[in-house]
Symmetry: C2
């Protein structure tokens, strides 16, 4: 099967990496919407429009399943994309539910933090899913918008990320036992976050998402081909993407995704 | 006269403020392309396409002059926008030449730094203009991409911006006498940058650009009406924009700028 994966940019490569590990027999096509990154500070309407445009491109490229490897896009666009895909037999997966499942399995005290972009936190998808699964949970939702540009700059350790993490998260120390890294960029800061929040279990939804997709689709029987496409600079994506993917993304092509259309047309 | 001003987002409000001071008798319409911010990490082709789309909207809104209040867009799109506008009698101004003029007037030793986004620094517009005006100058060009998201987060002083400025600029200490703040967001960090680079003259191109536009158009004889339009969240623009403009931008409307067309059509 061909699986389409998309993110606003580079962060979703952490999900791509886990999918390639968990589903070695499926072909993966990753689209990074780097001309319109970041989604995290944009309005729900804008994120929905961008997500449908990207999904249209993936469907036209033969994707029979779509993984939204972006927490903001999952928060705003998953229900609508699921509904549109369902009519055409295209399964759509998000990263929020698997992350919540993992947090529910990991926590001891019900004191859970969700770290994400402004859009993800305001969109409340994590808070709602946690309230449904663990009504007694006490959830602290903390937007950490600077972690995305910090990751894209490659500043993953040292004084600046430590000071940023302290400013966003220091007040949580001693108050939570589990934190969901609710943005695909954040797993790169695990060491820094672990230093600011000692003893806290950090839930990385990339891995739990890959397991959920494998449970639904099986590991596949093909050769596991991979392709990467972006809507802006190829060179920047390859250079910065290496630390997200664990290897240089290659080959990478540029595409113009065009407007929402076909299966994923918007009214 | 109606003057259109545009930026990728909020930073250009520093230029808008100076234009309103210097040209009190012109109507100003400011467009922040917040659905597609930031321009600074995007490719020249993408920035040109976005700039022509925005200029098309401003021309249709009656702008008889256009100020590109964005260093990245000036770097990549000024010559092409000037040529297109010239045919229709629309004057187009950028922020690079006025900043260079101010640096040429301010320096003593010829050791000048240019601080900007990745796109501005790679595009070499400042370096080329300085080489033409001061062939003997020694120019250090330093990309400081994190300063834009830091400004948009409102973290203008304290440990994080100081650590970021030190990491980008500490190596310049004692080697330059003048630094051009080659991004409209950077004037907000003047106190922090002055601490990292004591004794260095910081050139803010917003002010010099406003003077250049006044020299060309005169101060005007109208009532100085102002309007703001954005391509995404109105509330975020008003909230974050206040510290750039010195007052809450109001009124603000949402627009879809559409594709490049008319005077500013692209081939």
């Amino acid at each position: 099967m061909r699986i389409g994966i998309f993110d606003s940019g580079i962060g979703g490569l952490t999900v791509h990496r886990e999918l390639a590990r968990a589903l070695p027999g499926h072909d993966l096509i990753y689209l990074g919407d780097t001309a319109r990154v970041p989604y995290g500070t944009r309005s729900p309407e804008t994120v929905i429009r961008y997500s449908f445009a990207v999904a249209s491109y993936l469907a036209e490229s033969g994707a029979e399943a779509v993984v939204i490897a972006c927490n903001t896009a999952t928060t705003h666009a998953l229900p609508a994309l699921e509904a549109a895909g369902h009519a055409a037999g295209i399964k759509v997966f998000g990263v929020v539910e698997p992350g919540v499942d993992a947090a529910v399995a990991a926590h001891h005290t019900g004191a859970i933090a969700v770290l994400g972009t402004e859009g993800t936190i305001r969109g409340q998808a994590y808070q709602k899913a946690l309230a449904k699964r663990l009504p007694a949970a006490s959830v602290a939702a903390v937007p950490c918008p600077l972690l995305v540009p910090l990751a894209e700059e490659g500043w993953l350790t040292g004084e600046v990320p430590t000071a940023v993490a302290e400013r966003y998260l220091g007040h949580l120390r001693g108050t939570i036992d589990t934190a969901i890294l609710g943005c695909t960029h954040y797993p790169l800061f695990k060491p820094v976050i672990a230093e600011v929040l000692p003893g806290v279990t950090l839930v990385d939804s990339a891995e739990s998402t890959a397991h959920a997709v494998r449970d639904a689709l099986g590991p596949g029987t093909g050769l596991g081909g991979q392709r990467f496409v972006v809507t802006d600079h190829i060179d920047r994506f390859q250079r910065v993407g290496e630390q997200f993917l664990g290897a240089r993304p290659d080959p990478v092509d540029w595409v113009d995704v065009g407007p929402p259309r076909g299966v994923f047309a918007l009214d």
